[in-house]
């Protein structure tokens, strides 16, 4: 996983609420057995017409947003299906950070596993950043300081300390968990004794 420290980009504004993972990456792209190459399916139905041609009015089809690494969106982002193909598609497109008032739990979790930082901040601040995006101005995300800097405005954000560490150092969860092998083994011994039917 690529470490996440600082990120500067013009944020792409997508002011819709309840953007679900079916919208982010529809079913026909879930037949893959790989994690990569999903950018072509990202927001497929909003991004492409019935003949597969890019819709010129969709934000990620327009410059400078075609190279945005930050996406700003409405409430309850990533709701619905647990498909990790959603963060994979975003990442494959180049998105490393999402800013929205709230997220669904599974999507939120999946982001961190893929080096994407999902930031939850109040609606007024999201509205301000949507405007910054529309004005094509850059913002900088500083994960260490937990700040979003845009010109003279600075917004603080919260992030779980453990997840922050993993993101900043590009750490793999499985490796970390396997360091606790002795705890897992002793739990399993106790479990076998107390609940043998499991």
């Amino acid at each position: 996983m690529q470490p996440f420290v600082k990120l500067t980009s013009i944020p792409a504004p997508l002011p819709l609420i309840n953007i679900d993972t079916d919208m982010i990456i529809p079913k026909q792209f879930l037949r893959t057995i790989k994690r990569t190459g999903l950018a072509s399916g990202l927001f497929f139905e909003m991004r492409f017409d019935d003949h597969g041609a890019p819709k010129p009015d969709f934000v990620l089809n327009r410059d400078p947003y075609t190279s945005s690494t930050i996406l700003v969106a409405g409430d309850n982002f990533g709701c619905g299906s647990s498909r990790e193909h959603a963060p994979w598609a975003l990442l494959d497109f180049g998105i490393r950070c999402i800013i929205a008032p709230s997220y669904s739990d599974i999507f939120f979790n999946n982001c961190f596993k893929n080096g994407i930082l999902p930031i939850a901040i109040p609606q007024e601040q999201v509205d301000a950043l949507l405007k910054v995006g529309s004005d094509k101005k850059e913002i900088t995300i500083d994960l260490d300081q937990q700040k979003i800097v845009c010109g003279n405005d600075v917004y603080d954000f919260d992030v779980d300390p453990f997840r922050k560490q993993c993101l900043m150092n590009g750490l793999d969860d499985i490796g970390l968990t396997l360091e606790k092998e002795s705890f897992i083994s002793s739990y399993e011994e106790k479990r076998a004794e107390e609940k043998p039917w499991l």
Binding site: I17, D22, M23, R31, E45, D105, I184, W197
Partner: protein, 465 residues
């Protein structure tokens, strides 16, 4: 100290707790399907890791499988490759697998309970958001992403922080023709699709206790549509009777020991929840969705709402978009909405009781001439049971298609799909844009209501049929 059902299960599964409260929790059961697992097995292979507890793991193919003649194989090369990949992976890693020709094959959330693999007090995960279904047994069950699937395969644990707890109490007697599906749609309409975010919801009250296991599964299944991490219902005699003697259930002395533990699980009197919601069962009517989010729900007697009456600009924009997508005009009676297709199935409503409810409405009637209607049993065993009861005959005589088990038109990854603009009365769980095919229009409802719609060709008040 008085504890909730959630807290009891959680505490029994903590393997390690870090000073910041992050826990490593043990996972008792892991269900696998073809769509969200290939990258996880690939990860294991690349790191030279094994599956830690193969007894705890069960695999099935469901999302991509054809629901027509299986002997013809799978046409789509990508779907075929995904299922073949699963078959290679279960073989290589030694995992129990119900293949396409196995009569135990079916939707992952139907086969777990059916086999007795799902039991109270367990932690259960699957790379699928509707894993919440298994919460009906008083198990902590939730969906995970593919990276976490790999994590569970390798370590049999997950890194988690405890969720907040919410109790939704539904008290009283349900009106005639009101089913578990109507209860859960009503709840989602009330709290919204983000209402449960960060919470595990325990459903309680007499209306919940009086439900069969099938009905309880329907409720817990759609917890995720309310944004919740998981749904829970306290295990009781109904639960134990359902599990007893199933192939993977505890036997003999183990059964007695297990029941003793299960009996200790229900929330203690006086235990505190972070949030409580009370619902009068009397307020719930047969319900149907009109929009593109499961919270866009109304009693069947309602009319399509008017965005002009919505003051929140974000919500108003979402409503306008939904009405445009759904091809509906504000003020239209829901019972005047004409449909093209009917789908009865999915992990929400593809169990035997659902098929019985549909058959009761359909018996002696005929599907409206302009409607294509299909029944997709949730598993091979559900199908077999329905055939034993003669339900297939009722469906076929009425003009329904009687299909092989799988996810089918719930998400249309296989060949079963709506065409753009087609409108479907569906017993599944999501009415998102494009869910049942590009441009598809979905109305969520109960099996009985879907059956009624098939007969009249319109959304129908089941009480007036």
């Amino acid at each position: 100290m008085a504890k909730t059902l959630f807290e009891k299960i959680w505490d029994a599964h903590v393997v390690h707790k870090a000073p910041d409260g992050t826990c490593l929790i043990y996972i008792d059961r892991h269900l696998i399907h073809e769509v969200t697992s290939p990258q996880a097995f690939e990860g294991l292979r690349m790191a030279g890791r094994k599956v830690r507890n193969i007894q705890a793991t069960l695999a099935v193919a469901d999302h991509n499988v054809p629901t027509t003649d299986r002997a013809l194989g799978i046409k789509d090369p990508e779907s075929k490759l995904q299922i073949e990949t699963l078959e290679q992976n279960v073989e290589e890693f030694g995992i129990t697998y119900f293949g396409m020709s196995d009569k135990r094959q079916g939707i992952v959330h139907i086969i777990g309970p059916e086999q007795g693999f799902t039991q109270p007090g367990m932690t259960i995960v699957c790379g699928d958001s509707h894993t919440s279904t298994h919460g009906a047994f008083g198990a902590l069950a939730f969906g995970i992403g593919t990276s976490e699937v790999e994590h569970v395969l390798a370590t049999q644990t997950l890194i988690q922080k405890p969720a907040k707890t919410m109790r939704i109490t539904v008290e009283g007697d349900l009106h005639d023709c009101v089913t578990a599906k109507d209860i859960v749609l009503h709840i989602i309409g009330l709290i919204g699709t983000a209402g449960g975010t960060g919470y595990v919801i325990e459903y309680a009250g007499s209306a919940i206790r009086n439900l069969s296991m099938e009905g309880r599964m329907t409720i817990c299944n759609m917890s995720i549509e309310a944004g919740a991490r998981a749904g829970l219902i306290a295990p009781d005699q109904t639960t134990f009777e359902y599990i007893k003697d199933r192939p993977m259930a505890p036997q003999g002395d183990d059964w007695d020991r297990a029941v003793t533990w299960w009996d200790s699980l229900p929330t203690d009197d006086g235990a505190l929840f972070d949030k409580e919601i009370h619902i009068d069962a009397n307020d719930i009517a047969p319900s149907v969705t009109w929009g593109t989010s499961p919270q866009d729900v109304l009693p069947i007697t309602g009319v399509v709402p008017d965005p002009e009456n919505e003051s929140d600009p974000n919500k108003k924009a979402a409503m306008l978009r939904a009405l445009d997508y759904m091809g509906l005009t504000a003020g239209t009676n829901l019972t005047d909405v004409v449909i093209d297709k009917v789908f009865i199935g999915s992990c929400t409503n593809g169990r035997i009781e659902d098929l019985r409810a549909a058959a009761k409405v359909i018996e002696g009637q005929h599907v409206s001439p302009h409607v294509q209607a299909m029944i997709v049993p949730g598993s091979g065993l559900v199908k077999e049971q329905a055939e034993r009861e003669g339900l297939d005959k009722i469906f076929l005589d009425a003009g329904f298609e009687w299909r092989e088990p799988g996810c089918s038109l719930c998400l249309g990854m296989n060949e079963d799909r709506l065409n753009a603009g087609e409108r479907c009365a569906s017993t599944s769980n999501r009415n998102f844009e494009g869910r049942q095919g590009r441009g598809s229009r979905t109305h969520l409802l109960s099996p009985a209501m879907a059956a009624a719609a098939a007969i009249t060709g319109k959304l129908t008040d089941i009480r007036k049929l």
